[in-house]
Symmetry: none
Subunit: 204 residues, 2 copies
């Protein structure tokens, strides 16, 4: 029951890379994603990543620091949260739920984005260490930014409730994959999700 | 392929088991998990589980009842999700969101219930097999029941959206544990969660 094609890491780019250059960075991050996916955060080895990327372990440490930093870089939230925050806030609070819902649903329509976000979620669910990394990252980079643009009591709590809905929808739709939710179109989900998010972010 | 340690079944207790005793129960639940994982909920056989556990099939039925009950016990659902259905529906749709929110928040205040629900979630996130088992069970036993009591278009989709919020709140509050959500009291969360759930279940 293995779909070999779907489980193989993407082919490595072997050509034209220079130490420390853009190609090396891409190769290292790709090797790191493969290693984290194959062995999990705890067991993934910097040495194995360096070997797979064909770079020196010292160079790996020089450019990426410790494993947790490499992990965050390798996950490369396909959405840069510093870009998401203004996108969600822009236009004011009246339609913020719909904007966030549209953004999330559109991102999930991109299979590579979705897969990487799910990998982050699965890893966080399995590892307290990774959950801890995510926790700090999300509060600092996402929650605080959106909360600062809201004029409601307990803005951080509300942003986190909205975030919890986004996380839960990913779990139910793509991980547990209950039907009809798993096959519902973004258009079907949009108004329902938008209202829930709007309620969290601006509801009295 | 996440951390192997997290996916290994607990070591078997082979010593000192008595028919119907605690050790037998552990052995049966372990055999059931293996059988459900190997063959899926529908095809799993009580007879095969009894055989694998080295107990009489009649004893298995005596202690665990039917296959659905054994399934819940094996996955260590701390509560029978089917009992939730009448509790949520009772009293009609006007305050269904608040009833569901109260029920969920009250269950999570019980640490053992919460821990075991989180264990189920984590396992489903890590294992497509377990996710598949949950999928069939939740849709057949929970979603259909609540949906049948609603008078809205796409009732299953709406119940699953409500379920997704409950799952996501558990992930964000207890697994990723972002603050202030992790430390918010049930009373703080109740009105916000209730409104979101109400919107899913009865909103136009």
């Amino acid at each position: 029951m293995t779909s070999a094609a779907g489980e193989q890491p993407a082919p490595r780019k072997k050509t034209g890379r220079r130490p420390g250059g853009a190609d090396t960075r891409g190769t290292v991050l790709e090797a790191a994603r493969a290693e984290f996916a194959a062995r999990g955060y705890q067991k993934a080895s910097m040495r194995a990543i360096a070997r797979a990327a064909g770079v020196d372990a010292a160079l790996l440490h020089h450019y990426f620091g410790t494993k947790d930093r490499l992990f965050l870089a390798a996950l490369e939230f396909p959405i840069d949260p510093r870009l998401i925050v203004p996108q969600v806030l822009e236009g004011g609070p009246a339609a913020i739920g719909e904007r966030l819902a549209r953004l999330v649903l559109a991102l999930w329509e991109q299979p590579d984005v979705r897969d990487r976000l799910l990998a982050v979620l699965r890893t966080a669910a399995a590892s307290e260490e990774v959950a801890g990394l995510m926790r700090g990252f999300m509060v600092a980079e996402v929650v605080a930014g959106v909360a600062a643009g809201l004029d409601v009591p307990q803005p951080e709590l509300r942003v986190e409730l909205a975030m919890s809905q986004v996380i839960g929808l990913a779990m139910a739709r793509y991980v547990i994959a209950v039907e009809p939710l798993a096959s519902a179109s973004p258009d079907e989900l949009l108004p329902l999700l938008a209202r829930a998010l709007q309620g969290y972010l601006t509801g009295a």
